[in-house]
Assembly symmetry: C2
Homo-oligomer: 324 residues x 2
């Protein structure tokens, strides 16, 4: 009797997991409903909006869309930590005013020089090592580095509702790409393990690389200077270069995602989604003005463009995943 009951329970749990509602960390409101309705309409071959699986391309910004980005892009935090490490071995780094300020945490001074200053920081922290060595260093850092205000590992500051959205789209035969202003090689160091997105589904900013044969072993070496910035109008260009198809779903959180959403939603059916950071208790609250992830034009035009604005505070039951 007990055994039969156990089997019954197992069967029922199977039934429930098959039919469990998608996006469990989303409040059951208009935002969740809009997403589910869109996916239903493009996956139902009897509907006029049906899209065949090979054209179900979804693109997601990373910083501020898949994980947090305050008080500074996590990759910039990585760069500063690496600089400090390098300065221990090579104190001559401290003779550069930009690097000295950066190492001391005085970002305002360090970045006052604009793009060339940022370039100097990136060169000193990201260049002159092989791609595989760089990615090993990034993984080591993500494994241990702790966010200054939440006390969480940066690696664990992904948004649980967005991870569910990625998984939900994939389970509906979408191919999901990250399209981020962050570095291509930086993102790929963790995207597969963290988001389940393999390297070929990552589009990002890129620096120069060279192909070299060292002692008979060929390697790809990251060299100095940025080659391509995958932000703003760079996002549709990055999508064209890497994917070659117009997506039907785009998610972002800042005006750097505006053109990606504009490009995606210029054909129908399509879906544009903007994360609005409204939750200062559970995450951060900011839109415009903001030193990072400014969202102004996107908010102004979202209604006219038919884009969904997700209110983190209202729409999400949880922000970060529970630690295992």
């Amino acid at each position: 009797m007990l055994r039969k009951y156990t089997i019954f329970l197992l069967l029922m749990s199977g039934v429930f997991s098959c039919y469990s509602a998608p996006l469990p960390s989303w409040q059951d409101g208009e935002s969740r409903q809009a997403i589910v309705s869109f996916v239903a309409s493009v996956t139902d071959s009897s509907k006029p909006d049906f899209v065949p699986p090979e054209d179900r391309i979804a693109v997601f910004d990373n910083d501020g869309t898949l994980w947090s980005e305050q008080p500074m892009y996590f990759q910039l935090q990585y760069a500063l930590d690496k600089l400090k490490e390098r300065a221990k071995d090579d104190p001559s780094l401290l003779s550069s005013p930009v690097l000295k300020a950066a190492i001391e945490g005085d970002l305002k001074t360090a970045l006052a020089g604009g793009v060339p200053a940022l370039q100097e920081i990136i060169n000193q922290s990201h260049a002159n090592l092989s791609v595989s060595e760089f990615q090993r260093e990034v993984r080591q850092w993500l494994n241990s580095a702790i966010h200054p205000t939440t006390g969480l590992r940066f690696y664990d500051m992904v948004y649980q509702p967005m991870q569910e959205l990625v998984d939900y789209l994939e389970s509906n035969d979408f191919t999901v790409y990250i399209v981020s202003g962050g570095g291509l090689h930086f993102l790929r160091a963790f995207a597969e393990q963290r988001y389940g997105l393999p390297p070929q589904q990552v589009v990002g900013s890129r620096g120069n690389v060279t192909y070299e044969v060292m002692d008979g072993t060929p390697i790809i070496v990251k060299t100095e200077n940025v080659l391509f910035v995958d932000d703003g109008p760079g996002k549709p260009i990055g999508i064209d270069t890497h994917i070659g198809k117009k997506p039907i779903f785009a998610a972002g959180n800042s005006d750097g995602d505006y053109q990606m959403l504009q490009w995606t939603t210029s054909d129908s059916p399509s879906f544009g989604l903007l994360i609005h950071h409204t939750d200062e208790e559970r995450e951060f609250a900011y839109d415009s003005p903001s030193h990072i992830g400014e969202l102004k034009q996107g908010l102004q035009d979202a209604h006219a463009n038919g884009w969904l604005v997700v209110d983190m505070k209202k729409d999400w039951k949880t922000v970060y995943p529970e630690r295992p």
Copy 2:
């Protein structure tokens, strides 16, 4: 009785098609056997060389590897045909010595200026139109343009044995990419229809593009000048940018593919394949010196590097597919 017999035949044909030998246009010799053995060893989970499907990346050069490339790259022939067309509308093109020679078919004079001359021809034939408009023009051309010596459409000058190889790898859960010195947008105009390879599985040379909004409609516009040349050491770099994983199978035909094969076969298990153009009757015979697709270093090092050299004349039963 007749009906039963018909059903029996249908069943048997099903059985035979399931178990038909792969690569039917390849002679049953060492080359075919080497490919089949490799695929068997990396797809059998009980073997030490087993590679999980997500890491079964195969890369193919296009010109001279998937289709012919003599007497000139087909894309260059396209450029010349487009130039002639444009010169009809705009005779001022004839005032440029390079373009005038190119339009008159005097390639030796036209290309005497080296890269800047080629750049001028590419700019005038490939730039200042949207990606989708460009690809429409390429498809129109491929639909009708005839090769000067074979009388076949360029579009039909793909190698049947190589198409079978692409299909065979895909049926063994490889993901197959084109990695070509040819233009990214040019290749994508026909790769899906011709080879069954979607745009995101095409890596190629690229020119500049911009993102523009014209009368409210966003478009990607091809602008002037080449940005990235996917040839020689550019091939492993293109693979790193687009795929982010080292392939386990690489096929090429010229020294422009050397680094791609070198990179691919620097880890084990892996397979490097070079097409040797030995068949002047059915295709063309050339290796070194050659004005196109020179193969010298590759032939010299193939044995030491463990690369398979495919002898077109001996190894292939057919070259081009039969016209439907």
